[in-house]
Structure formats: C-alpha cells, structure tokens
C-alpha cells in the first residue's frame, strides 16, 4: 500500500486521482506535479517507484494544502469580517459576496459562505 504524504492509497488508484483527493489540488495542479516528476497521466499508484513516491511526498509537503490552506482561507474571511467590510458581512450572513442576485439561486452561497469555510474535509491527519 503506497503512501503519499502519509495517506494510504490502494495500488490500483490513478496517481492523478489520488493527488486530487488533497484539498487544494485540482486537475491543473495535479497535472503539473505529475509532469514535473515524469509520471504519465494514466499511471497508477502501484506502478510508481519508491523514490518517486518520496519525491511526491516532499513536493506536497512544500505546498500549502489541506489544513494549512483551509486555515488561510478562514483567516482571510475572518480578516474581512473583523474589518467590518461588506464582504465580511456577506460571508457572515451566508449570502453571495460578489454582487450576485439573491432573489433565487443562492444555495451554493448558503452552503459555502460562512466564516469557517472549508471546515469539513479530511481532518484526521
């Protein structure tokens, strides 16, 4: 069972998919990481060499992902709120921040715009 950044993945998982399980890594970032370490897009975790896995772990440890990233986002929102800015208020109210309409279609804003944003996720690290 290969470990990437202390997370265990089954051997059959695609490297791309396993990287994208980290908060803060999407398709673009995972593609660039894999290109940097010369991993083909359809590579599976089981086929990676141990050295490559270590490299990946080292790379991920240098990146701001998971809880670090969550904390940064929450800090920014709290900063806005403490300033008493409009954006901070909107965040606190759980309403759209960037001038969208509020008559309809604010489900996403209700779900996401809160002061402790991104609170749920892989926290058991």
């Amino acid at each position: 069972m290969p470990f990437i950044s202390n997370i265990n993945f089954t051997e059959g998982t695609l490297v791309k998919r396993s990287l994208e399980t980290f908060f803060g890594i999407g398709p673009k970032v995972s593609q660039s990481i894999m290109a940097r370490f010369h991993i083909q897009p359809w590579a599976k975790v089981g086929s990676l060499k141990a050295s490559t896995l270590l490299d990946l772990t080292a790379e991920l440890s240098n990146m701001k992902i998971e809880n670090d990233l969550r904390r940064e986002i929450q800090d920014s929102i709290i900063r806005l709120k403490d300033m008493g800015s409009y954006r901070g208020r909107r965040h606190a109210m759980g309403l759209p921040v960037r001038g969208q309409r509020t008559r309809t279609q604010i489900a996403t804003a209700r779900k996401l715009n809160r002061t402790l944003r991104g609170g749920d996720g892989r926290l058991g690290m």
Binding site: A35, R36, H38, Q40, P41, W42, A43
Partner: protein, 485 residues
C-alpha cells in the same frame, strides 16, 4: 359484457356441461368488472394517496425511466480483469471449416523475392506465422480467421516491395518506403507481407505494431540523461519491444541472435558477462526495464556491425508519430513525438539521417481509419504520389494549414524534388486497387477455400471488382467472402 359474448357463453353453458364450471366463473368475473355507466366513476374524487405506504404495483408494467430505482441487480459473473481486452485483441489465424487449398504453395527463401510470383497466392510458412504473431503484425480487422491458414496475394505492390528488398539485400542499400492508399486497400497487409518476406529471407525484423501505443502516454517515461534537447525514454515499452525482437528473431529454426556474439563493449549500467551473445544482451534489457534503452542502443550498435543480416524496421499508423505526443515535460508542455527515443530512432532512419550499413528497408504504413490529422505527412505523401504520375505536376502547399516543421524536415526527401533514380531512397508505395487478374486469382483462392460459392468467371470477377471500388482488396473480401447473402 358485450351481448354476443353473453349469448355465446350461455349457449355453451347449455350445450357443454363440462365447460360449465369454467364458463360460469368467467361470466361471474366479467360481471364483476362490467360497468355500463362510467359517469359515476368519472365524477368520483380521485383516490388519495396513502402516505407512508408504497403503492403496490398492479397489473401492467410501467415504463421505469428513472435510473437506479428498482433496477435488477444482475448476479452474472463479471469477466476477469483483462479478459475482455484479450478477447478483443485475440487473433485467430485458422478456420477449421474452410477447405485446405491443395495448390497453395508457401513462401520459400529462394523465390520469395522473385517477380514470377506476381498474381499468385502464397501461404506463409508456420515459423514465419509465429514470428509475425510475435511482432503483432496480424490485425484483428484482417480476415485471417476466414481461411485455413494465412496466405497472401502477391500483388503488384508486393512485387515492387520485393524488388526494393532485393536491392537492399544485394547492394546493402538503405531504402525507405511509406505505404499509402485508400481505406481497406491493404497497407497493413502489405507491411505484413514485407515483414514475412524479411523473416523468410532471415533478416532482423523490428516492428512497432502501432505508433499510437508509443505516444498515447500509457507507458512510463523518463528523461534521457545527458541529452540536449531532452529526450525521453520509455522503459516498459522498450523492454517489451526487446522481448518482441527476441521472440521474433530467435526462433527454433533460425536462432540468429544466439549465434551472434557481442563484439563491441557497450556502456551499460549493468554488467554483461564476457563473451555474451545478443540474446543475453536482450534478456538483460528485458529483465531490467530501467536499462532497456541502453540495451537497445547496444543491440543496434551490434546489429550495424559489418557482416550482420539486413534489417527490416517497420511501423504502422505512422501519422501518430508525426505530431506532439500525450506526454508532458517538466514545464507542462507536450513532448513532441520525435523527442521520444524510440520514435526518434525510427525517424532518424526514415529521414535518412542514419543508414543501415548492412542494408535494409524502413517501412512506414499510414492508416486511413485511425489517423490524427498531420498536414505535413499528408502533403508529403501527396507530392510523392503526384510525382510518380507526372513529375511536373505536384500539388502546392496550402499555406492555411498548420504544419509541423520538424515533420517537414524529416520527410524532406519525400516532398522536395530529388534526382531521378531507378530506386529512390525514400518514396511512397501507393497501394491501389487490384488488377483484374489479381482479383481473379484471389477470388479463386476464396472459392477453393470454400468461402465463396460462385462460379468464378470474367463477369463475376468484373462485377465484384467494380463494386469493390476498382479492386480495393478489403472491399473485395467484404463483398465476396464476408457478406455472403
């Protein structure tokens, strides 16, 4: 109940005492359902749904459009991993129901390259079939499974290729040919014929069965150290290529690679025993994929030593090579196919940058069904084809098409005017339609195999020849053997 039914049932009741019970029960059932007036039902309030209770299904099936609801879990056994791919890629070369063709002769080493074979159907010898299987020259789309054993028609283009091979063998020339033609015109089969002739003549054969597999980023890649600009090796693919080379060229009849000793001292990351044979060298590369590329380079160096057999280097689906691959470099830019070592090796030989000192033929077959758009290759092939017809009339370059300058450079010999020679080093073999004699010959073979039940006369041959688009062999086979009505 409608009156006639009523009357009939009553009359039957009186007539047939045996059926009385059933009829009576049916009549009762009708009576319960029968309703002379529908108005009361229509004006009644609709039955309110009972909450919390699933509605029971009555009577007819209804269309269940929603996914995932009430779907039946099928309990059938799933195919094992890789089983479906194996079934898809399975190559069947015999048909027990087809008749043995008594007159069928095999290719022999003595006369396989002779011009007298034109228009004959020749069988492929057993050993060669195994070797061809090893280099994956047979395709699933080809009709090998229709006949008793693999046999091919020595058509005009085959003889042309045989001449090229003869010249390469005799004069130790390096001749390069691009096979082009319509869909189903037999380009891959001509490639296979070239490979089988090479096997029969005991050449070293290296075949890249499908260029797409090299560039579609399904195998590992790594930058080649000390290369400028950076090239990329494919360890797994190279290792499998080495095993394929070993399997195809080191048969029981002709253990060629076992006989040849390593004479140079290649720089390998792994130790090679002293006085090793080429077979041992290759096995080293197969066992250690990370060393496969240096092993391949060493093998090539060995094969180009003087006194070694000629080499046949072939690829199918050339167009895939002539574009950027799906691999990405460290800067997240696509890697050009020419920067992959295997493809660069092939392209160096196709473009004439490197030559084969012992003579040999480089074959590149194009495809019409699985080909990305490569304007540079298309243009080069068009120019070469036009030049064969009339050297003064060649098509002009379309400036609105986006060409790949590296491909244009590699195929320079194909589209730039060259000196008039009998056998040009790089040329196109245009695989066209069969002549009527050839068509007749192959149809007689079909008939003798029992796969075509018709009298083969001029009218029949011409009809099929015309319907197959002036002798397109794939269409001919489809029309006469596959689509028998």
């Amino acid at each position: 109940m409608p009156p006639p039914t009523c009357l009939r049932s009553f009359s039957q009741l009186s007539l047939d005492s045996a059926a009385r019970a059933s009829m009576a029960s049916r009549a009762r059932a009708h009576a319960q359902m029968a309703c002379f007036s529908t108005s009361a039902a229509r004006y009644a309030n609709p039955v309110s749904k009972k909450k919390g209770m699933a509605q029971t299904k009555k009577g007819n099936k209804t269309l269940n459009v929603k996914k995932g609801r009430n779907t039946v879990q099928d309990t059938g056994k799933r195919p094992a991993q890789g089983e479906r791919k194996a079934a898809r890629k399975r190559i069947v070369l015999t048909n027990d129901n087809a008749l043995e063709v008594a007159t069928l002769k095999d290719m022999t080493k003595a006369d396989v390259l002779s011009e007298a074979n034109q228009g004959r159907v020749l069988g492929i010898p057993e050993a060669t079939v195994d070797a061809l299987r090893a280099v994956e020259a047979f395709k699933t789309t080809q009709g090998w499974s229709l006949f008793r054993r693999p046999a091919t028609l020595m058509r005009k283009e085959t003889i042309e290729l045989a001449k090229v091979m003869k010249a390469a063998e005799d004069d130790k020339k390096t001749l390069r040919r691009v096979l082009s033609g319509e869909r189903l015109s037999g380009k891959s089969t001509l490639l296979l014929q070239g490979l089988s002739m090479a096997f029969v003549r005991q050449w070293i054969v290296i075949n890249l069965p499908e260029a797409q597999d090299i560039i579609n980023a399904h195998t590992e890649y790594a930058p080649l150290p000390d290369s400028q600009p950076t090239q990329y090796t494919q360890e797994t693919y190279t290792a499998s290529l080495l095993s394929q080379i070993l399997k195809a060229n080191n048969t029981a009849e002709n253990p060629m690679l076992e006989k040849i000793k390593v004479t140079t001292s290649p720089a390998l990351p792994l130790a090679l025993p002293a006085d090793a044979t080429l077979k041992q060298l290759i096995e080293l590369g197969i066992v250690n994929p990370e060393a496969s590329w240096p092993v391949f380079v060493a093998l090539w160096q060995e094969l180009t030593q003087p006194g070694r057999p000629p080499i046949m280097l072939a690829v199918d689906g050339t167009a895939h090579m002539m574009k950027e691959s799906d691999y990405l470099n460290a800067e997240v830019k696509p890697i050009h196919s020419f920067d992959l070592t295997i493809i660069r090796h092939f392209i160096d030989h196709l473009s004439g940058a490197k030559s084969l000192p012992n003579g040999g033929v480089i074959l590149a077959a194009t495809s019409q069904s699985n080909a990305p758009s490569t304007p540079a290759l298309d243009f080069s092939v068009q120019v070469a084809e036009a030049r064969q017809v009339d050297p003064s009339k060649t098509p002009r370059w379309n400036p609105y098409k986006n060409i790949d300058p590296r491909v244009m450079e590699a195929l320079k010999d194909l589209h730039s005017p060259t000196a008039k020679e009998q056998l040009k080093p790089l040329d196109v073999i245009k695989v066209g339609g069969l002549s009527k004699d050839e068509a007749r010959s192959i149809m007689e073979y079909y008939a003798e195999s029992g796969m075509l039940r018709a009298k083969i006369d001029d009218g029949f041959v011409t009809e099929k020849w015309s319907l197959a688009g002036m002798g397109n062999i794939g269409e001919l086979e489809r029309a006469s053997v596959r689509l028998r009505i």
